[in-house]
Symmetry: C2
Subunit: 427 residues, 2 copies
């Protein structure tokens, strides 16, 4: 074995069998080769007594480089926030800034146990290169018609998207994947949506979209197209490819039926949906429709961090408060959203669960803290009392990215200095 | 000066003037003796560049020793949770267990920046002694008629309460205060409530109660007394003394008017109210009524930690989602709830704000982290991206209880071992 993790509380990521008990995990050639009571010779051994070993978390919707706008605009409604605060800063972003911001986001994600993410932003090549430097997994989206492409130059955008896809899909031994950004029904028109759907089908790309985020989006969609956003997607052929749909806050029963029968994968972003007053996505109803929901932070500008333990805590709490039923969103469901569902949603089907043959994407959580003593139930603890700062070790594809809270692939101090200088230039 | 804190970002706790800028804080004889740009000789200097100095947090409603039931019962409705899970364990608690549990809770609170709390539980003397050992502030409540006192032996209970009050009110140079527990309208009857109100008036005690926590409580109160809970309190004379009222979830406009005109101090417990599916207290409306709301974790059994940074984050987010207005509960309001409002609510009027003459109850927060870079707005950062684990230093009454994340008054490792042994005996 390359690596042996000894005596950990093993949480599997698999709903019906979430807690395995205390055991050992053997890792070989980037895969989980063994889980069980036995011990065996290994090049490296990690003593994990009093630690929880679990699948690394997947952040299924973010705009990583928005860390540059962290805490800049708070307590504002969406239009004010976006138009008056965010757009003016975004106009100043360069490729160089995006590279540093992506690395900072990677450091933050590793520290809080995230091993993979689905991204949508500018200068996508820079984010892909930062991901390869950091050793994380990511699926990075690029569209053929962004808000900026007002001259409808589909051909140039398609060439760019294809080149990006050719260069980065599968890069780093499969750490990086690519997908098609279809921002939303409100930034595109029917023509652009149909072009996007055709392009995705032709090149076998997953689509990454914002869908049903706000009431306004739904109302305007009915005005503009005569249909609700998910119906517009269906009508334009978008649902013939896999679609990852961020937010899904304002969905009625019929919207959920369409999502379920077309394999649409919603991404619940609880912090962002509250921060911008969009509301509470009805995840318990989606679960009843048999939809596997993933979890995401959205960009740091509407969060203001990238901590998936924070999102798990919110996912476990807010729907109980909103529905008046404390039995909804049990802890195991929430862990599944952040692990197995997240990995599958963003195209890493061999990650997100701990069993033999899966990718060795594993995090170790130190439970020797006042706030996790006594440890009566590891699965409940992950959702209701564990913090991102409890993550001790992060392993992706069998490679150690952090051990004893020390980052192995990123010079964080230097990076923080660079980011402070960038912030001085931006603000 | 006894102590000089240098070059900190100073957050005052005072709403209209929440961020002071970078400056120095001089501490002498347990009080803040200076805030400003000057430097001066001091026995001890803390270099606080890139740190936020702010008032220590006040947890205005908790049952500290419920840390022994942390993560034991999750995803259950209140009746199931309380009767089937919590009561059977509470029946086994001894004075010795409560002492250790109170110390563990103190360690967790210090680590996450809490300097004072309002407590309601059993074996109150043990909690008071633990608070004195830890060096925290606490107001500890004891009632004259608990659910267990079915024989209505008011006189014995009054003697106990008076002895506790005499022995502990003002103990430790004012670190410990005492108050009267009036658990709720549902555990007492009108006779018990009137006795309690008389006792509080006679001995000048603040009352600590659960009020309007659930719909069921309100409905049952109308059935039992013909009035809503806060009306019952008013009728029984309870509002003639200061009342701290935990939860206040199910309050209508008239309830809020009664609270406002009688100086009732609500304590918002967002995690607990969601965890047990009680709902969302309408804090924005209370603010419009001019009510100063404090913040609390409730007991760890319904949270499952004592982290006030988590509560601040929730207080900043959930009301935006619930009301559909992102401008409610701005970051400065939330910080004020956890600092100035919390301190005043639980009887420590000279804490909770940073200005000359106030108690030196100060915490320092390390912002040199990926998740707080760049630091564009310290007040927003405290609510939306800062974690309890970012607290570096805790000072209470001028005494350092933690520095560089090292606890000075509690042997945490030994305590965690003790608590694990207690848990083995309880479960």
């Amino acid at each position: 074995m390359d690596l042996l993790i000894k005596d950990a509380h093993i949480v599997t990521g698999i709903k019906g069998n979430m807690y395995y008990g205390v055991g050992n995990i053997g890792i070989d050639a980037g895969k989980i080769a063994y889980i069980g009571p036995e011990t065996m010779p290994a090049q490296k051994v990690i003593e994990a007594r009093d630690m929880i070993a679990m699948p690394g978390l997947f952040n299924a919707h973010t705009h990583t480089s928005m860390v540059l706008m962290r805490n800049f605009a708070a307590d504002k409604n969406l239009e004010d926030w976006l138009v008056k605060s965010i757009f003016p800063i975004e106009g100043k972003l360069t490729a160089e800034y995006i590279h540093s911001a992506s690395l900072l986001a990677a450091a933050e994600m590793i520290r809080s146990g995230t091993v993979g993410f689905l991204d949508m932003y500018y200068h996508v090549e820079e984010t892909a290169e930062a991901v390869l430097e950091a050793g994380l997994r990511a699926n990075i989206s690029l569209g053929i018609l962004t808000a900026g492409n007002n001259d409808r130059n589909y051909e140039a955008a398609k060439s760019h998207a294809l080149a990006f896809h050719r260069n980065y899909h599968g890069a780093g031994n499969g750490l990086v994947k690519t997908s098609l950004e279809v921002h939303s029904v409100y930034l595109y028109d029917e023509d652009g949506l149909r072009e996007s759907a055709e392009f995705a089908k032709k090149h076998d790309l997953m689509v990454h979209a914002h869908l049903h985020e706000t009431k306004t989006e739904v109302v305007n969609s009915i005005d503009k197209y005569g249909f609700r956003p998910i119906e517009v997607f269906k009508k334009c052929g978008m649902l013939e490819v896999p679609v990852t749909a961020a937010h899904c806050v304002n969905m009625n029963d019929r919207d959920m039926e369409i999502a379920a029968s077309n394999g649409v994968r919603p991404v619940h972003c609880p912090t962002s949906n509250m921060y911008l007053a969009s509301g509470f996505a009805d995840i318990p109803s989606m679960q009843k429709h048999g939809i596997a929901v993933a979890l995401g932070t959205d960009g740091a500008a509407s969060n203001n961090d990238l901590d998936m333990f924070g999102e798990m805590n919110l996912a476990g709490l807010i729907h109980k408060g909103h529905s008046g039923d404390a039995t909804v969103m049990d802890a195991a469901s929430v862990v599944e959203m952040a692990t197995a569902n997240g990995a599958a949603t963003i195209g890493f089907e061999d990650s997100g669960r701990l069993y033999e043959g899966m990718n060795a994407d594993i995090i170790l959580i130190d439970t020797n803290s006042a706030h996790n003593t006594p440890m009566l139930n590891p699965v409940n603890a992950l959702v209701y009392s564990t913090k991102g700062s409890d993550v001790d070790t992060v392993i992706v594809n069998g490679r150690i990215l952090m051990q004893s809270k020390e980052l192995k692939t990123i010079d964080e101090e230097k990076l923080r200095y660079t980011i402070k200088k960038i912030a001085d230039m931006l603000y």
